[in-house]
């Protein structure tokens, strides 16, 4: 069965420090991987995706994520956190050959950046 795990309910980081939000997945075959962000009272926004190619993917707002096939992980990173990065972050996965086109989502990680 396909699944996504975001092991941390909440991550606290001081402004200016690097941040990492963890994601591991289980899917049949090669995955499509995504990160989305949800700000309070706003809809989900796309950050970045891994389809194929370079394992390091760069996305919006200075975020990047590294695909690690052996560890089945797709951790989200940013070199220097901003207070405005505080939000709820979701990792999602779909099997490349999933005929159901179903995107499986993690439970989310609340990121809090303290000034």
């Amino acid at each position: 069965a396909q699944s996504v795990a975001q092991p941390e309910d909440q991550v606290n980081v001081a402004e200016g420090n690097p941040l990492t939000v963890k994601c591991t997945y289980s899917v049949s075959g090669n995955p499509y991987l995504f990160w989305y962000v949800q700000y309070p009272n706003r809809g989900l926004q796309f950050l970045l995706k891994y389809i194929t190619g370079d394992n390091l993917v760069k996305g919006s707002y200075g975020f990047e994520a590294e695909f690690n096939k052996s560890q089945t992980s797709f951790h989200l990173k940013k070199p220097s956190a901003l207070v405005s990065d505080s939000a709820l972050y979701f990792c999602a996965v779909r099997g490349r050959f999933d005929s159901n086109y179903q995107l499986i989502w993690g439970a989310g990680t609340k990121l809090i950046i303290k000034p």
Binding site: V4, F90, Y101, I104, G108
Partner: protein
């Protein structure tokens, strides 16, 4: 350009009633997906439509149905509402999977 629009934004129903939620995708997007998001959880996939045909269905009962119209807008229908159907219902549009999804702000459904 307008983003994905959903209506209504909030809805209160009682158990056993029926509800219809509406979604207009971004102009040019032919794919619409529906998700249910319960507080504290990630979105759960309900349906995906592309070119008016159902392309994917999540693990939801037959009380949930949807359709896509020639202008690519979509409706999600839920019959015989249960208390557990209370959630934020999100619509997303895309050009074609696995392209990035563009989400609407959702419809908050409360079933009393």
């Amino acid at each position: 350009d307008a983003g994905v629009t959903q209506s209504p934004t909030h809805l209160i129903k009682t158990r056993g009633q029926h509800v219809t939620l509406r979604c207009s995708p971004i102009s040019g997007h032919k794919s619409v997906s529906w998700y249910q998001q319960v507080l504290g959880q990630g979105p759960q996939f309900i349906f995906q439509y592309y070119e008016k045909e159902e392309r994917g269905r999540g693990n939801f009962p037959d009380r949930f149905s949807a359709r896509q119209f020639p202008n690519y807008s979509s409706e999600l229908n839920v019959n015989a509402l249960l208390l557990g159907d209370s959630a934020l219902y999100l619509c997303a549009s895309s050009l074609l999977a696995p392209e990035e999804l563009f989400f609407g702000s959702g419809t908050q459904l409360s079933v009393l």
